[in-house]
C-alpha cells in the first residue's frame, strides 16, 4: 500500500506527538519495514482486543485452537504440578531459552512503560497474593500492574505477569482476583506460551524464525509469534490450554486458602457485562470455552477441591475494597474512556448494585452519558449526578459536571450553585480560578 507522503508524515506525528523517541523520518522507515509482517494479521480495526495477540499463522489464517481431546475430564486429579521446578530457567541451548530472552526484553520495556501503575501499596498487595498462590514459585513471578481498562491479565514464559487495571475494577473480592491470578500462574507452570510458540514455529518455520529474530531487535510484531513469546494472554491460548489453566487455577487458589466458589462468579459477572453484543462476544468465544461450560466445570471443581485451612476459604471483600479504594476513581474514569458505552453501562450498574463507593460509580456513569452526548443523554447524566450526590463520598467533580450542563442550558442560578458547591468541597481545585471566572460571567 502506498500512502501519500504527507498523510504518512501526519500519522507519524500523530503517534509521535505523544510517543516514542525517534525522529519522524526514522519511524516512517520503521513502519515501512514492519508492513509485510503486519500484513499477516487477521485482526481488523474493529477487533475489540487488537492488542491481545490472538494467534495467527503467517498465512493469515487462525491457528487451530482446539486440538482435540486433552484428556482433561474435569476432575481435580488431572492437575498436578510437575512441569517446572522453582527457580528453573531453560537450558541456554534450547528453543525455550530464546523465547525467554525475548520475554526478558519485553519485561525491561514494561518496567518503564508510561501506563505502569507504580503505587507501591497496590503492587505489594497484588504481588503478595500472587506469592501466596504461587507458593514455591513465588520468586519466579514478577507482577506489573498496567493501566489498561480491559478484563485481562497476561503471563509470559519467563514469569512476567501483567495485571490489567480493568481486571481490578471487575473482580469484586480477593478470591475473584485470585481466580484470574491462579489461572495465569497455571499457564506459566504448564508452559502454555512456550507450547503455543513451538506449535506455531513448527507450522510456519522459516518466516517464524525471522519474526523471532526481528522481535528480538525490538520491532513489535503484533498478533504473531513475538506476541506469543512475550505475552501469553487470557485472550490468546487455545481452549484446551484455557481449560487446563482453569483447573490449575482452582487448585492453586484453594491451596492458598481462597474460596474456589468465587471462581465461577467472576465469569458470571463477565457474562452479564458482555450482554448480547455480538462484537464483544466473538472475541471471547474465539479462544475460550463458552462461559456456561466454564462455569459448570469450575463449580464441579470447586466442590471437589480441598481448601487450605479446612474452612470455606477466604473471600476477602473488605480487604480488596480497601486496597483498591485509592485507585477507584481512576479505574472508573479509564473504563469510561473506552467509549464502549453499552458494556460500561452494564458494568457500572452491577458495581452500583454491589455497593462499593457507589457515589463515585454514579458520577462516572453520568460522565459516560455526558461524553456520549446522544439525544436524551444530558438528562440521563443529570439523573446519575443527582444519584451520586446522595452518597457521602460523592466526588466534588459531580457538582462541577452538573454545573456545566446547567450552564449550557442557560440555568444560571443552578449552574452558579453547582459550581460554588464544587469549590466549597474542593477549595484546592486546580481549575478554581477558571470556575470562579465562569461563575462571575453567569448572568441571573
Amino acid at each position: 500500500m502506498i500512502i501519500p507522503a504527507k498523510s504518512r508524515l501526519w500519522s507519524t506525528v500523530a503517534v509521535f506527538a505523544v510517543a516514542v523517541g525517534l525522529t519522524a523520518c526514522q519511524t516512517t522507515g520503521g513502519d515501512a519495514y514492519r508492513a509485510p509482517i503486519n500484513a499477516a494479521k487477521t485482526q481488523t480495526a474493529d477487533d475489540p482486543d487488537k492488542d491481545s495477540g490472538a494467534p495467527t499463522d503467517v498465512s493469515g489464517d487462525s491457528v487451530a485452537r482446539d486440538d482435540g481431546d486433552s484428556g482433561i475430564t474435569g476432575s481435580i486429579d488431572d492437575y498436578r504440578i510437575e512441569d517446572l521446578s522453582p527457580g528453573e530457567r531453560p537450558d541456554i541451548s534450547s528453543d525455550e531459552a530464546s523465547v525467554w530472552m525475548i520475554a526478558d526484553r519485553a519485561e525491561r520495556r514494561a518496567a518503564n512503560a508510561g501506563n505502569a501503575i507504580k503505587d507501591p501499596a497496590l503492587n505489594a498487595y497484588v504481588s503478595d497474593m500472587v506469592c501466596k498462590i504461587a507458593g514455591d514459585y513465588c520468586d519466579d513471578i514478577r507482577v506489573y500492574i498496567v493501566r489498561v481498562p480491559d478484563f485481562n491479565a497476561t503471563m509470559s514464559p519467563n514469569g512476567m505477569m501483567s495485571v490489567y487495571s480493568g481486571l481490578l475494577l471487575r473482580a469484586r473480592n480477593e478470591a475473584q482476583l485470585a481466580t484470574v491470578l491462579s489461572h495465569e500462574i497455571g499457564h506459566y507452570l504448564r508452559r502454555h506460551s512456550y507450547q503455543r510458540m513451538k506449535d506455531t514455529i513448527d507450522k510456519t518455520n522459516g518466516l517464524a524464525f525471522f519474526q523471532v529474530f526481528t522481535a528480538a531487535l525490538g520491532v513489535p510484531v503484533v498478533g504473531s509469534i513475538a506476541t506469543i513469546a512475550t505475552v501469553g494472554s487470557l485472550a490468546s491460548f487455545g481452549r484446551d490450554s484455557e481449560r487446563e489453566a482453569d483447573g490449575y487455577g482452582v487448585l492453586l487458589m484453594a491451596r492458598a486458602g481462597f474460596s474456589p466458589h468465587e471462581a465461577p462468579k467472576i465469569w458470571e459477572n463477565l457474562d452479564a457485562e458482555l450482554g448480547d453484543t455480538p462484537r464483544s462476544r466473538s472475541f471471547f468465544y474465539a479462544s475460550h470455552p463458552a462461559i456456561s461450560e466454564r462455569q459448570t466445570m469450575l463449580r464441579a471443581l470447586a466442590d471437589e477441591v480441598p481448601i487450605a485451612g479446612g474452612g470455606p476459604g477466604r473471600i476477602g471483600t473488605e480487604e480488596y475494597r480497601e486496597a483498591l479504594s485509592p485507585h477507584w476513581e481512576s479505574l472508573l474514569a479509564d473504563e469510561v474512556s473506552k467509549r464502549d458505552y453499552e458494556r460500561t453501562e452494564r458494568l457500572f450498574d452491577a458495581l452500583i448494585a454491589d455497593g462499593f463507593r457507589a457515589g463515585a460509580v454514579y458520577y462516572q456513569k453520568g460522565e459516560m452519558y455526558r461524553q456520549r452526548g446522544d439525544e436524551g443523554d444530558e438528562d440521563l447524566a443529570l439523573a446519575a449526578y443527582h444519584a451520586a450526590t446522595q452518597f457521602i463520598d460523592a466526588p466534588p467533580e459531580v457538582f462541577r459536571a452538573r454545573g456545566q450542563i446547567f450552564q449550557r442550558r442557560g440555568l444560571n442560578v443552578e449552574a452558579r450553585e453547582s459550581y460554588a458547591e464544587y469549590i466549597r468541597r474542593n477549595p484546592e481545585a486546580t481549575d478554581r480560578k477558571m470556575i470562579e471566572f465562569v461563575i462571575g460571567g453567569l448572568g441571573s
Binding site: I3, A5, K6, S7, R8, L9, W10, S11, T12, V13, A14, V15, F16, A17, V18, A19, V20, G21, L22, T23, A24, C25, Q26, T27, T28, G29, G30, D31, A32, Y33, A45, R109, N112, A113, G114, N115, A116, R147, T214, L217, G218, V219, S337, R339, Q371, G373, R400, Q404, Q407, R408, T430, D431, K433, M434, F437, V438
Partner: protein
C-alpha cells in the same frame, strides 16, 4: 533502541526521502498565517508541517517539542487531522462546549493518540487575540514512559475553536523552547 534505529534507517531510504519533504521553514521575524484563520508573528524560525487547518511547528523534532495549531475548528471537527492511521474514535469539537469540556476534548484526543497519565495542573481565564479565552497547563507521559509538559490556549470566536498547544519532553526540550512558544502564543491574531 540503537538497533531499531539502524534497521529503520536501512529499510527506509525511499520513505525517508518522502517523509522529510513535508517540513517547510517558518522564517522568524515576520507574521505568518496559520491554517488560513490565524496569524502569528514568530521571532525565531521553526520547521512546520501542515495539514489543512492544522499545523505542527518544531525546532528539534515533534517528539521533543512542538506547537500544535488547530485553526478555526468547526462543529463536528476534530482537534487533530485525521488520516487512514489516526484512530477513528478521536473526539469531536461541538458547538457550545464549555471551557472545561474543551480541556477534556484535548485530553481525550491526546489519550487516543497514545498519551497517558494526563493531568491538568492549572487552568485560568486569559485574553487571547482580544477575546476572552483560557489557558491550561498539564503534564502527561508517552506509552513508553517519557514524561512531557504542556501549555495550551484556546479561544472561541463565532462558534469556531482556535487552539494552540505547546508540548515537549519535561527534561530539557520543553523548558528550552518554552519562551519561544510563549512568544508565538502571545502573538496570535484571529483572521
Amino acid at each position: 533502541m540503537k538497533k531499531l534505529v539502524r534497521i529503520a534507517a536501512l529499510a527506509s531510504v525511499l520513505a525517508l526521502a518522502a517523509a522529510c519533504q513535508g517540513y517547510t521553514l517558518v522564517k522568524g521575524g515576520s507574521p505568518v498565517e496559520v491554517g488560513n484563520a490565524m496569524k502569528v508573528s514568530p521571532e525565531r524560525s521553526w520547521s512546520k508541517l501542515t495539514s489543512g487547518k492544522y499545523e505542527i511547528w518544531t525546532v528539534d523534532g515533534p517528539i521533543l517539542q512542538q506547537i500544535l495549531f488547530a485553526s478555526g475548528v468547526e462543529d463536528g471537527e476534530k482537534l487533530f487531522p485525521t488520516d487512514a492511521q489516526t484512530p477513528k474514535t478521536l473526539p469531536e469539537f461541538k458547538k457550545g462546549m464549555t471551557e472545561l469540556e474543551i480541556t477534556e476534548l484535548y485530553r481525550d484526543t491526546l489519550v487516543q493518540l497514545g498519551g497517558t497519565q494526563f493531568e491538568i495542573q492549572e487552568i485560568a481565564p486569559k485574553t487571547i487575540a482580544g477575546k476572552q479565552g483560557f489557558r491550561f497547563e498539564f503534564t502527561f507521559a508517552t506509552k513508553e514512559g517519557l514524561q512531557k509538559n504542556g501549555i495550551a490556549e484556546a479561544v472561541l470566536a463565532e462558534d469556531k475553536l482556535y487552539f494552540v498547544a505547546y508540548t515537549g519532553a519535561k527534561l530539557h526540550y520543553y523548558p528550552k523552547n518554552l519562551p519561544d512558544a510563549e512568544q508565538v502564543m502571545g502573538s496570535v491574531e484571529i483572521l
